[in-house]
């Protein structure tokens, strides 16, 4: 009887109080409004502004077509900044992944003071990148910095490498700093992923005669692949908008040699107040990066 009653209840059409459909939208309205106000509106406003000629000195709100977009194509400094950003990403990201993976593997087994060392290793990631950049600037100082001193001890003679002044050294300086700060992020995520790899599968592989590399390649790696891809994606996005560390270390110099996309946009937008031109830059780069991101997500089979 009870079953019958339940069946009847299930079969009966749901009756909702009048206005319930609207109420649920009312509940989410504040959140949607905030998202639109602070997410979508600035972008749409940037699109509008990108067709005008607003700058610190000129306030022409009349539309001037694609002039700013045409300028973008000829702006070598912008495309150099894109190149610099991808160069840093292309070098720093694999290093962070490889080191993070090695560390994660190392700390997978029980080690003395494991918890203490893991906690210590994570510290760089909780430091503000601005502070990390300032700290490394002092570390790289040619006169008082410990880096040159240590190299000097190793080589047995005084060295004066101008890490932040000479273009050839500025890139290693930036990349070292970024790797130092963000490898722990990669490490902690991969440690968590590796800890969750099915122990039985690893044991089975071992029994079947697989060596350590084969176990990792054919058992652990497929298991941690989605997590690793997400970690890579987060770090890649961070590197694409790299600003703080480079700003503190080199200000994008010498000249424009280490200028990243974010630094260039900051300079044009907030130091030179080329509002409309920066708006055009934002639109083009956002569209480009969104396209790249969508393709990447599909390839990585994270979003299906």
């Amino acid at each position: 009887m009870a079953i019958q009653a339940a069946a009847v209840t299930t079969a009966a059409p749901m009756t909702r109080p009048a206005g319930a459909g609207g109420f649920k939208y009312l509940l989410i309205a504040p959140a949607v409004f905030v998202l639109l106000a602070f997410g979508l509106f600035p972008f749409l406003y940037s699109v509008v502004v990108s067709f005008q000629k607003l700058s610190l000195l000129d306030q022409y709100t009349s539309f001037q077509g694609l002039l700013n977009y045409a300028r973008l194509l000829q702006d070598q400094r912008l495309w150099n900044a894109v190149l610099h950003t991808f160069a840093i990403t292309a070098i720093a990201l694999p290093f962070q992944l490889a080191l993070g993976l090695l560390l994660a593997h190392h700390f997978l087994a029980e080690r003395p003071f494991k918890r203490l060392f893991v906690a210590l290793l994570i510290i760089p990631s909780v430091i503000s990148p601005m502070v990390a950049g300032s700290m490394w600037r002092l570390m790289f100082d040619d006169r008082y910095g410990p880096i040159n001193q240590m190299i000097g001890w190793i080589l047995g003679e005084h060295v004066s490498i101008l890490w932040t002044i000479q273009a050839a050294w500025a890139y290693p300086a930036i990349i070292i700093c970024d790797i130092w700060e963000w490898t722990p992020f990669m490490f902690i995520i991969l440690l968590a992923a590796l800890s969750n790899v099915d122990r039985e599968q690893l044991d089975a592989a071992s029994i079947d005669g697989a060596n350590a590399w084969q176990s990792f390649r054919y058992v652990s790696l497929p298991a941690i692949w989605p997590v690793m891809m997400i970690a890579l994606l987060i770090r890649a996005l961070d590197l694409v908008r790299l600003f703080d560390i480079v700003w503190q270390l080199t200000r994008g110099g010498p000249g424009n040699a280490t200028e990243t996309i974010s630094i260039y946009m900051f300079v044009r937008g907030f130091q030179e107040f080329e509002t409309s031109y920066t708006g055009a830059m934002v639109v083009v780069l956002l569209v480009l990066f969104t396209a790249v991101l969508v393709v990447a997500l599909r390839r990585m089979e994270i979003v299906r």
Partner: protein
């Protein structure tokens, strides 16, 4: 009867001459400003000032003094130098009136006037000013305050680069003899850049690593140093007809190549040196020459060294050992300078102007240019002639004389439309060359960047601004 009227009139005049004239003679812009400002007691004025020592003057000294004298409170907003201009412009665009008084550089005046961001001061000067005090300003600095025949700002800081050198080393008989034997001329402050390089090398060869021949500024404001050398070699910034940039001419390449090469006789890592490092090295006795701004003279003498705000300056080891000269170009760059201007959005224009007049006045400005705090430098004829300043340290008179000559013969900073963008790209080009880029390539890139900027601003508009700037004698000194 008419005779009696005449006698009475003469008597009246005599009374005026005896009673009033002394009062007129005593009248000064400072007291006039204080008296007039008392009617605004209880108001607050907001000032935008360069963060650091510049602002410390207003926060620690002049602001509290002004409040005590007039009852007007001064609220100082500290802004980094590179943000003074954009911040003032943004506030103006938004019409916030956040700042009543603005701190600006002379080369920004044209841009700011065209944008309507500066209030003309002539009506206020007419109302409150003391003409004789305006006549007392050195002509080069007086030019800074005006644009298109109107006054828009009051100068409070007369900047110009000065060559500081170790007199004791230059006057050492052994050094003098050895130098003459090697180079065939007397060891003295260099008259050109070739001599600068030779003297630098000579002293470095003899004293390094304890002391190097020179230690110049290589980071921050490097465009000033390049612009000066470039012009001394006959360089021109633009072709006046086409407005194409000509910074990549032979003069430009020679100047930049030489700047980079001459770092070789300077301390290792000098490419990393800014204003602070250069000052520290001079004060510590590690370098024999540097080129910098005028406050260095007071710091090398240790004046007010016990002041908390100056605690970062290393104690001087070179007191009474420093000589002063015009830079090797023969025309020192009048790098920057500080003007006070009134925001058109200010709600307390009279009170603000009066504070500006008080700071700019003969009486108050003399005190400020003698203080290390505030980084103010002489700009008045009376300051050069002041017995008090001349006796501030044993060679203060030489310093003032050098400063005066440097100003009279100095190069004016490039001031055209969107000047700060041209400066910024020039600074990047210089730093790129210092960082290893081929100077010709760095300057070719700079010229291309300047051309794009000029196109964007409008060739005709920029030509007009450039022609007006280049017509002044201080532009190219020919």
């Amino acid at each position: 009867m008419a005779r009696w009227y005449a006698i009475a009139a003469l008597g009246g005049l005599a009374t005026f001459a005896v009673g009033v004239m002394p009062v007129a003679a005593q009248e000064n812009a400072a007291t006039k400003a204080v008296e007039a400002a008392k009617q605004y007691a209880g108001t607050t004025i907001n000032t935008e000032e360069e963060a650091g020592l510049m602002a410390m003057l207003g926060i620690n000294i002049t602001g509290p003094e002004w409040q005590e004298l007039t009852g007007i409170q001064v609220r100082v907003s500290e802004v980094p130098y590179e943000e003074l201009f954009p911040k003032a412009m943004l506030e103006h665009r938004a019409g916030t009136g956040a700042y009543d008084m603005l701190t600006i550089a002379p080369s920004w005046v044209a841009d700011m006037v065209r944008a309507g961001a500066l209030e003309p001061l002539d009506p206020y000067i007419e109302k409150y000013g003391v003409k004789s005090e305006f006549d007392d300003i050195a002509p080069a600095f007086r030019d800074w305050m005006t644009f298109d025949g109107k006054t828009y700002a009051l100068v409070v800081d007369g900047d110009v680069h000065i060559l500081y050198y170790r007199k004791d080393l230059f006057e050492d008989p052994t050094n003098m003899e050895a130098f003459k034997a090697e180079y065939g001329y007397d060891l003295a402050p260099p008259q050109n850049w070739e001599q600068f390089g030779q003297i630098c090398q000579f002293l470095t060869d003899k004293y390094a690593p304890q002391l190097y021949g020179a230690g110049l500024i290589n980071t921050g404001y490097t465009y000033y140093f390049f612009f000066e050398r470039f012009r001394s070699y006959g360089g021109r910034f633009f072709d006046p007809e086409t407005m194409k940039a000509t910074v990549n001419s032979d003069a430009g390449v020679r100047a930049l190549t030489e700047m980079v090469e001459q770092n070789g006789c300077q301390p290792p890592g000098v490419q990393n040196w800014g204003f602070g490092e250069s000052l520290s090295a001079l004060n510590s006795g590690e370098i024999a020459m540097t080129i910098s701004w005028p406050p260095l003279a007071r710091w090398t003498q240790g004046i007010n060294a016990d002041e908390q705000a100056l605690s970062w300056v290393p104690p001087t080891q070179v007191k009474d050992k420093i000589g002063y000269a015009i830079t090797p170009s023969g025309h020192s760059e009048m790098a920057a300078g500080i003007l006070l201007a009134l925001s058109p959005n200010s709600k307390n224009k009279d009170a603000t102007y009066l504070y500006m007049q008080w700071l700019h006045s003969k009486q108050e400005s003399l005190k400020n240019v003698m203080r290390p705090l505030g980084l103010r430098d002489p700009f008045r004829i009376s300051q050069y002639e002041s017995p008090e300043f001349q006796s501030l340290w044993p060679t203060a008179k030489d310093y003032l004389e050098t400063h005066k000559r440097a100003v009279e013969t100095g190069y004016a900073d490039l001031a055209i439309l969107d000047t700060y963008k041209y400066w910024d790209s020039a600074g990047r080009a210089v730093n790129a060359a210092i960082g290893g880029k081929d100077p010709q390539q760095a300057l070719d890139d700079l010229a291309a960047e300047w051309d794009a900027l000029t196109e964007q601003i409008g060739v005709d508009r920029q030509r007009e601004a450039y022609t007006a700037w280049a017509a002044a004698p201080a532009a190219y000194r020919e």
